[in-house]
């Protein structure tokens, strides 16, 4: 029982460290791609310390509770995701629960933004929800393909069966789903080609318009957790989720750097272009993957 409690405490802390490191790394890599030095690796930590000391402005109780719900939702998803062998709560619900709890974060952000009473926020939230509808279609196809392929809805079994039968990314029907998941990864993370919902130029950073000191710090922490969750889900489902956390971290690093290189050089999509792209190629790939797994299964 003690190791279980230890794991429950350890995995969010690890996720926070990895997420914040990825944020710092992202700014450094993007800077290097732009031929400039870029901030020190611990710049996000400095930003957060400053933000915590800065005064802040609140628009009402829902404005605070929504943000707290969104951050708590992201942390709870981390508890359900196995990180190497640390898998605190993965037994109680499997992929369906992960899919649904990933819903808490945008809902919390939308509620707190809604009370901010600013049209920039409302436009940002409506774009964020349209984008989430956009990338949900291929994401669901991918998850259903994995679930029907391994005939289970528990993520631990998916990881353990990959130990034996090799990575899902290489096995025949699932490499299509893996590819399509990788194509929609920037949309899930809200990175450059798809950061329509928090576009600084058009809608002055969307839902984060009214976030001041500690609110902005909590929002960046929540973004770090979402970064960790999406990549950890990809590694667990398609790269076999390693035995010990270090290999798991290395796999995540590789996936993240690849995703970042795409992100650094792309201009931002308009929301219609993003939806058209998301519903065309990734959905086609994932659909074919699902049909093949269905054919093999029956």
């Amino acid at each position: 029982m003690v190791t279980k409690v230890m794991q429950i405490i350890l995995s969010p802390v690890l996720a926070l460290i990895v997420g914040v490191f990825f944020l710092g790394l992202a700014r450094k890599i993007i800077a290097r791609i732009h031929w400039r030095y870029g901030p020190p690796l611990i710049q996000p930590v400095i930003d957060m310390i400053r933000l915590f000391y800065q005064k802040s402005v609140s628009h009402g109780s829902m404005f605070d509770l929504g943000l707290i719900l969104s951050l708590a939702g992201s942390i709870v998803v981390v508890l359900f995701l196995p990180f190497g062998r640390i898998a605190p709560l993965s037994g109680s619900g499997g992929l369906l629960v992960i899919l649904y709890i990933m819903l808490l974060a945008p809902l919390g952000m939308a509620l707190s933004g809604g009370q901010g009473a600013n049209p920039n926020i409302s436009i940002g939230i409506s774009r964020k929800l349209i984008l989430s509808l956009g990338y949900e279609v291929p994401l669901l196809l991918v998850l259903l393909a994995v679930m029907t392929h391994y005939k289970t809805i528990s993520i631990i079994e998916v990881v353990s069966s990959q130990q034996s039968t090799g990575w899902a990314l290489i096995s025949f029907p699932l490499f299509l789903s893996g590819l399509s998941y990788f194509l929609i990864l920037p949309a899930i993370l809200g990175l450059r080609p798809f950061d329509v919902s928090s576009a600084p130029q058009e809608i002055s950073s969307g839902p984060m318009v009214e976030y001041g000191g500690k609110y902005l710090a909590l929002a960046t922490i929540e973004h770090a957790f979402v970064l960790f969750i999406s990549i950890a889900l990809f590694v667990n489902l398609f790269l076999g989720g390693a035995a010990n956390p270090v290999i798991f971290f290395v796999k995540m690093l590789v996936v993240f750097v690849l995703g970042l290189c795409i992100n650094a050089v792309f201009p931002r999509f308009r929301i219609e272009q993003a939806i058209k792209y998301l519903w065309k190629w990734p959905t086609l790939l994932a659909f074919v993957g699902l049909i093949i797994t269905l054919a093999i299964r029956s």
Partner: protein, 190 residues
């Protein structure tokens, strides 16, 4: 990050964090705005100093006023400054915000921006080059270190006179006063 820097970090993290993470919001008032893009992009890269442009005053703590201030723009500048969160610093570019510069006798420009909102740092030069802007940032660091960048505290304590000046220059203001301007001197601070 040599030894005494780390000691400083532990002694007063707030001040150090304020120094090395200045999120700037800049107001495209006058001709100085053309200097800002090279500063924040690859050629001169302000991000090395932790200065990144942000979209809204709520997320910012550095306010760059780049160039002459017309009477109509002063209204927006005051509104933006009041929406920023403390601790906040302002830097004026060029001589026009200092004393009106070459528009010293124009009926439509604000001569001494210092009368309406506190300015922590000035950069001389009829639109300073990016290097001058970095020197200003370094200068602002030392000011923060020595607790001399106290524009926002001055604004809070002398809000009555600032508000009176603003109303003299702009006539009636649509938004309520930031701090209560009633007669007793010490209103509750923000």
């Amino acid at each position: 990050m040599d030894r005494n820097q780390i000691a400083k970090w532990f002694k007063e993290p707030a001040k150090m964090a304020n120094k090395y993470s200045l999120h700037a919001i800049y107001f495209c008032t006058g001709c100085g705005i053309i200097e800002v893009p090279p500063v924040i992009t690859s050629r001169w890269d302000a991000e090395r100093f932790g200065v990144i442009p942000v979209a809204t005053p709520r997320q910012a703590n550095l306010f760059l006023i780049t160039g002459y201030v017309s009477v109509k723009t002063l209204r927006a500048i005051i509104r933006t400054y009041e929406q920023m969160l403390e601790p906040k610093y302002t830097v004026g570019f060029g001589s026009c915000p200092i004393n009106g510069g070459m528009y010293w006798d124009s009926y439509n420009t604000i001569k001494h921006l210092d009368k309406y909102i506190p300015i922590d740092g000035w950069i001389a030069g009829c639109m300073p080059r990016p290097e001058a802007i970095f020197i200003a940032v370094i200068h602002l660091w030392t000011l923060i270190d020595k607790d001399m960048a106290t524009g926002y505290i001055k604004y809070r304590e002398n809000y009555k006179s600032y508000r009176r000046n603003q109303e003299m220059a702009l006539g009636e203001l649509e938004w309520p006063p930031l701090f209560p301007v009633s007669d007793e001197p010490r209103g509750n601070e923000q």
